[in-house]
């Protein structure tokens, strides 16, 4: 009897262990299954999020392209609407002969007030702002003396007369009065107008001074035609970033153009183009736009921290 009881007890104990083990196993399986499901769900959500991000990025890129297209259209229509004041056969290229400061003038009693500053122009780079008044240029006073001192020229005419003696690239010293009344000396490094701007003189019987200004954009490709530089990705190098490339300045080629004739590679740093140092991607494009189709061009670069020069022949569909 005692043995039977003992056997029943041991059996019950074993059964208890077995069922507890089975229960634990079942719970473990269920937890494992839930964990897997949660992982699958998380992976699915991550994949969905990645797809959505890609989709938004594509939309963003498309929106940017549309915006740029619209902006170019604005400029193209603007240049079409701005037909010559004067039409004549005696056109001549004025660029390269006349220096620009890069602001719009407004005559005031003390001189020439800056009514607007040309974006990325010489005056903008020198820190001139709307509201500043130029009281002197190269020591010559610009005050309006037409009513009080018998002067014959307006402040803007006086300024332009002085600028006629300046060659593009020459620095010009200005005395500037800001809106708060503080005066300072500012040196502006002048520049020639874009290579694609033509200015022609007045032709009889049109009124004197009716100069003709026409514009083609920075290179033929800017509105029409294929642009071999369109797919290049550039960023201006900072001194910190430059330590990785062996130079403190230049334009880093983040993505090289597909056109192999241009010879650039990812990671190159453009130091100068045809002897001119580009300060920004748009400046680089402006320089490149001044070269003609098929024209040889030297591009100085840093590649693997070593300086070298690429002899590039611009393809026929390049600017110019």
């Amino acid at each position: 009897m005692r043995n039977r009881i003992k056997t029943i007890g041991v059996t019950a104990l074993l059964l208890g262990f077995a069922s507890a083990s089975a229960l634990a196993q079942g719970t473990g399986d269920k937890q494992q299954q839930q964990k897997q499901q949660a992982q699958q769900q998380a992976q699915k959500e991550a994949a969905d999020a990645a797809r959505e991000e890609q989709s938004v990025e594509r939309d963003l890129e498309r929106a940017r392209r549309d915006l740029e297209q619209a902006a170019r259209e604005v400029a193209r229509l603007s240049s079409e609407a701005a037909q010559p004041f004067v039409r004549g056969a005696r056109n001549f290229r004025y660029f390269g002969q006349r220096a620009m400061l890069g602001f719009v003038t407004e005559d005031v009693e003390r001189g020439v007030r800056v009514a607007s500053v040309t974006p990325n122009g010489p005056a903008a780079e020198a820190g001139l702002k709307v509201g500043d008044t130029i009281t002197e240029i190269e020591g010559a006073h610009l005050a309006d003396t037409r009513t009080t001192g018998g002067g014959k020229q307006s402040p803007t005419e006086l300024l332009l007369a002085q600028m006629a003696n300046i060659d593009p690239g020459e620095p010009v010293k200005l005395r500037v009065l800001n809106e708060a009344g503080a005066e300072r000396d500012v040196t502006v490094k002048t520049r020639s107008m874009s290579a694609n701007v033509w200015i022609t003189p007045p032709t009889p019987p049109n009124p004197p001074g009716a100069y003709n200004f026409t514009f083609r954009g920075p290179g033929n490709y800017w509105v029409f035609g294929s642009n071999p530089w369109a797919d290049i990705q550039l960023v201006a190098l900072t001194p910190g970033l430059g330590t990785y490339f062996g130079t403190s300045k230049g334009l880093l080629v983040v993505r090289a153009p597909e056109n192999a004739a241009l010879q650039l590679k990812d990671g190159d740093v453009i130091l100068d183009i045809g002897g001119r140092e580009p300060s920004s991607p748009e400046h680089a494009i402006r320089i490149l736009g001044s070269f003609q189709k098929g024209e040889p061009l030297k591009i100085a670069i840093m590649r693997n921290k070593a300086k070298q020069t690429l002899d590039v022949k611009l393809p026929s569909d390049s600017p110019g």
Binding site: A49, E53, E61, R65, A81, V104, V130, A182, V197, Q233
Partner: protein, 230 residues
């Protein structure tokens, strides 16, 4: 003597400052520039529109944030997308509204469809000015200063955006260079027009053109400054 930021702010705001401190600031170009910069910052902040948050906005933001949390950083792209889309929309409006200048500055003006007219908000009065450069009778004296003011406002906006130097494609750089060159040409024309006594309707048309181009440039720069990847 080394003036404190409080001194510079006081000079900027026209508040009383110790004469010695004032003289030190006035005599130091760096301090004067800093005062000027602080003034500009204040001016820029003053230009921001006054907005009041609608009732219950934080609860709604929290709900939206909770919904979108598992989706990573896509909201940033969405925000950038919304920004660019808004810029595209404005550019499209610009495109429709671009003023046409007379083919010859001395031709008689011709009629244009109302859709080609541009409205410029006068920043001093806040009132809209209808700008139609082709119909000289409609170019009021008020539109000229309004355009000049709008141009100055866009100059300031562009200067703030230009501090950023983002990565740029050749195509975008071409667009920006084109707009900048076109604006440079308009600026030269405006200065020459000023010196040669060109009639105001012609100069108003040039200012209108400048405003359109500056608007386009600001929008391209703004879109360029938006992030694309994280």
């Amino acid at each position: 003597m080394h003036p404190r930021t409080e001194d510079l702010l006081s000079v900027r705001d026209g508040e009383p400052v110790d004469a010695e401190v004032r003289a030190a600031i006035k005599g130091d170009a760096a301090h004067s520039r800093e005062v000027e910069r602080l003034g500009e910052t204040r001016h820029a902040l003053q230009e921001l529109p006054e907005l009041a948050a609608p009732d219950g906005i934080w609860a709604r933001i929290e709900a939206v944030e909770r919904e979108t949390r598992p989706r990573g950083h896509s909201w940033r792209l969405r925000a950038a997308g919304v920004g660019v889309a808004a810029a595209v929309a404005v550019a499209a409006v610009l495109l429709v509204g671009i003023p046409s200048r007379p083919r010859n500055g001395f031709e008689q003006p011709r009629e244009v469809a109302p859709g080609l007219q541009t409205t410029v908000i006068d920043s001093t009065t806040g009132s809209p000015t209808l700008f139609d450069p082709l119909v000289s009778g409609q170019v009021t004296a008020a539109s000229y200063p309004a355009l000049v003011q709008e141009s100055a406002r866009l100059d300031r906006m562009l200067r703030r955006l230009s501090y950023q130097r983002p990565m740029m494609s050749g195509e975008t750089a071409t667009t920006i260079a084109g707009l900048e060159d076109r604006i440079a040409l308009i600026d030269e024309q405006l200065t020459y027009s000023n010196a040669r006594g060109v009639p105001q309707p012609e100069r108003t048309a040039l200012w209108g053109e400048r405003v359109e181009l500056m608007n386009a440039l600001v929008h391209v720069r703004y879109a360029q400054a938006q992030p694309t990847g994280f």
